[in-house]
Symmetry: C2
Subunit: 405 residues, 2 copies
C-alpha cells in the first residue's frame, strides 16, 4: 500500500467527462489499496472568466479580493471530482487548501507555502477516503484565503507530497513526460526516463513549458521525487529526482529553443566605468528581467566606445526601449537597435560537469549549419547561444542529432 | 452612526453593473458615517448552473459536496462586491460565511445556524471597512462548509444583525416592500409601513413570495427589526417588527391568494374510527405536506360513510394520489377525486384577535360575488377559504375592497 499524491491540471478536469476520466484513474489506484490524495486545478477557462468578471468591475482589483475570487475555481473542481468518485462507488472527500492545512504567507496572488499541517488529510485517508485537495490555494495563519500564483497547483501537490511523506507524486499533464526536445520541432526527440532537478530547472527556465521552476525548486529542497506523465494514457512518464552518478554518463539531457526572447543593442556607448551599471540599474528599477548581457571590446578612434547588448523576454521589450531612450542624453550612445527575431538555443546536462569540449562541439555543429552565433552564455550544466530566429529550428535539430541522436 | 446590515439577493447582484449599483448604495451609507455589513447571494443563475454541472457528474450528489460546490457562488459575489466598493474609493473586505464566524450544525444543504462569533466582522468594521459577507453559508465547528437552504441569505443577514446588535437590518429585494395584496392582481393594493412578525409569517406561508418563513421566525425569536425594501429605488420599505398595540386597530393587514394548491377528496369512506389516522399517517410517511383537512358529516344509508378532503401543494399531488390509490382496498372508499383548479384565499391581521364578525363579513363578501366556499380554516390571526381557482382573483379584489379599501 502506497500513499500517492496525484495532480491534475485544468485541461485534465476541463469538463464533466474529463473529471469522470480522472475519477476512473484515481479509482484504479484506490482499488489496488493505495491511499490517494488528488490535487486539482480550476477547470480550464474558469480562472480566465473570473479574471474577466473582475476586470469588468475595476481594472486593477485588490489582490486579497482576487484571491477570494479565484479560489472558487479550484473549490468547484474538488466538489465535482469528489462526486465523480462517489458515482464510481469510491469514498471521497474534498478539502479546500485551507481545510487541507496549507498555510501560506500573506502575499496575495503569489503567496509562498510556509507550512502544511496535514492531520485532516491523514484522518480522511485513514478512514478509507480519497482526499481531493484544491490546488493553487491556501490560507494565512489569520485565516485569509491566498493563492500561490502561476503553476501553483503543481506546488500544492509537491508540498503535500513532502508533508504527507508520500511514496509517489504524479503530475498529470497533457504531455507524456519530459522530452529531449520539443517533438513538434525535433521529430527524433524522445521521452526521458529520468531527469535531475537541476536539469529540469534549466529546461523549465529555458522555455520547456512542462513545469514552473519554483515547483521544481521546492521538490529539490524537500527531496520530493515526482513523475511527470500524461492524463490521456497509461504510459510511464519522466521521473524527476536528485542527481545520481549514472546521470553523469549523459552529456546532454535536453535541447531547448526559447523563441520568446528579444535583444537590445546600444551602439557606440562610451567605454568608461559606470556606464553598464547605469543601464542595468535603470532596467532593474523598471522591472525588466534581463537575461544575457554581452559587451564587445572597444573600437573606433578618439574616445573608446563599445557595443552593449542584452536580452529579455519579448513582452518586456517596449518597457526596455523606453528606459534606454530615457538614458540617451546622459549616456551618449550613438544608436539603439532592437531585435525580436532571435532565438535562444540551449543544451542542458549534468554530464557537462565532467565532460570537456561540449561548447566547442556545439559551436562546430552550428558553424556547419551556417548558423551565426550572436551571444553566448554558459553555466555549469548549460550552454545557451542567441541565434537568428529563422534558423532556430534547423539549428535545434542539428544540435539534437549531434548530441542525442 | 449606526450599524446597518444590508442583504442583496441574486437579482440585485446579477451582473457587474448591478453589483456596481449595490456598491453605490452601500457607499452612500458608509459616507454618512454608518458601519455597513453587506450580505450577498450568488449572482442570479449561478447556483442553477452549478447544480446543473453537478447533475452532469451524478444524479444525486452527496450533500457535503453540494455545499462545497454551491458555496463558491456567494464567494464569487463577495469578492466582486468588495472590488466594486474599492473602485468607489471605499475600504471593503469580503468574508466567507466561515470567516464571518457563522457556525452551523452539520446538516448539509439545509444547515441551521447554531451561533455566530462576529469578532472578525467587528474588527474589520472598526478599521473603517465595509464588510461583505457571503450569505447562505457557514461552517460546522469541525470546519466543514455548509449551506442554509432556500432563503438562506435572508437568514444570514438577520442572524448577523442579531449577533452584531445592528441598529437596522435591510432586506433589499426587487419589490418595494410588503403589500396588502399582490398589486398585479389587486390594483388597489398598497405598501404596508409596518407589519408584525406573526402577520408576516402567515403571509409568507400563504404564498406571499417576499421571504421564507424561517427567516421571519428567526427575526421574531431574536427580536431583529428588519425592513423589506427595493434595491431599484430609494423608497422606504416595510418594517417587520414585534406587534404593537396600535397594530390591533387594523383588522386585516393583508389578503393573499395561493394558486399553488391542489385538493384530494375521498368519496364515501366508511365513517369509523382510525380511517383518517390511516390516511394521514400514510401521507406523512410519503412526505406529503398536508395543509387543510375537512371531513363532512356522515351521509347515506346502511354503513355510515363520509367524504374526506385535504389540500397540499400542487407538486405533491401525484405523490398523494399514489398513496391514496394504495389504500383503496384497505379503506374501501368509493372513489377519489383530485382537483387542481382551486385557490386558497386568506386574510391576515393581528386585529382579528380583538374584532368579531370578521369571518362572517368575509363569507358575505364572497357570497355576494357568487363565489362558493369549498373548505375553511382559521387561526387566531388568519381566515383561509378554498375556492374555485377561476374565481380566485375576482374574490381577492372583492375581499381586499371590503376590508382594506
Amino acid at each position: 500500500m502506497a500513499l500517492i499524491v496525484q495532480k491534475y491540471g485544468g485541461t485534465s478536469v476541463g469538463n464533466p467527462d474529463r473529471i469522470k476520466n480522472v475519477a476512473a484513474r484515481v479509482a484504479k489506484y484506490h482499488a489496488q489499496g493505495d491511499q490517494v490524495v488528488v490535487v486539482v486545478s480550476a477547470m480550464s477557462g474558469v480562472t480566465d472568466s473570473l479574471i474577466k468578471l473582475a476586470k469588468e468591475i475595476m481594472p486593477l482589483p485588490a489582490e486579497r479580493e482576487m484571491d477570494m475570487l479565484l479560489a472558487t475555481g479550484e473549490q468547484t473542481t474538488i466538489a465535482l471530482t469528489a462526486m465523480a468518485l462517489h458515482s464510481l462507488g469510491v469514498n471521497a472527500v474534498s478539502l479546500t487548501g485551507a481545510q487541507a492545512g496549507i498555510v501560506t504567507d500573506g502575499v496575495h496572488t503569489k503567496a509562498k507555502i510556509s507550512n502544511i499541517t496535514p492531520q485532516k488529510v491523514h484522518q480522511h485517508l485513514d478512514a478509507g477516503n480519497v482526499v481531493i485537495v484544491a490546488g493553487f490555494q491556501g490560507q494565512t495563519i489569520e485565516g485569509q484565503i491566498t493563492t500561490l500564483g502561476r503553476g501553483g497547483s503543481d506546488l500544492s501537490a509537491i508540498a503535500l507530497a513532502a508533508a504527507l511523506k508520500a511514496d509517489l507524486c504524479q503530475i498529470y499533464t497533457d504531455v507524456d513526460g519530459v522530452y529531449t526536445a520539443d517533438p513538434r520541432i525535433v521529430p527524433a526527440a524522445r521521452k526521458l526516463q529520468e531527469v535531475s532537478y537541476d536539469e529540469m530547472l534549466e529546461l523549465a527556465s529555458l522555455g520547456a513549458k512542462v513545469m514552473q521552476s519554483r515547483s521544481v525548486e521546492f521538490a529539490k529542497k524537500f527531496k520530493v521525487v515526482f513523475e511527470v506523465r500524461s492524463s490521456l494514457n497509461d504510459n510511464p512518464g519522466t521521473i524527476v529526482k536528485e542527481e545520481t552518478n549514472s546521470m553523469e554518463g549523459v552529456v546532454v539531457r535536453g535541447v531547448s529553443l526559447d523563441k520568446n526572447q528579444a535583444k537590445v543593442t546600444l551602439v557606440g556607448i562610451p567605454d568608461k566605468p559606470g556606464m553598464a551599471a547605469r543601464v542595468f540599474k535603470a532596467l532593474g528599477d523598471a522591472a525588466v528581467n534581463v537575461d544575457m548581457i554581452v559587451q564587445n571590446v572597444s573600437h573606433g578612434t578618439g574616445t573608446p566606445a563599445t557595443d552593449l547588448s542584452f536580452t529579455m523576454d519579448k513582452p518586456d521589450l517596449l518597457k526596455a526601449k523606453k528606459v534606454i531612450d530615457g538614458l540617451k542624453a546622459e549616456l551618449a550612445f550613438r544608436e539603439v537597435i532592437a531585435n525580436e527575431a532571435i532565438g535562444k538555443l540551449s543544451i542542458v546536462g549534468v554530464g557537462m560537469r565532467s565532460h570537456t569540449g561540449v561548447a566547442g562541439k556545439m559551436f562546430d555543429v552550428l558553424a556547419k549549419e551556417g548558423v551565426n552565433i550572436d551571444m553566448i552564455s554558459t553555466s555549469e550544466i548549460k550552454i545557451s547561444v542567441v541565434i537568428d530566429l529563422t534558423k532556430g529550428e534547423q539549428a535545434m535539430r542539428a544540435v539534437h542529432a549531434a548530441f542525442i541522436g
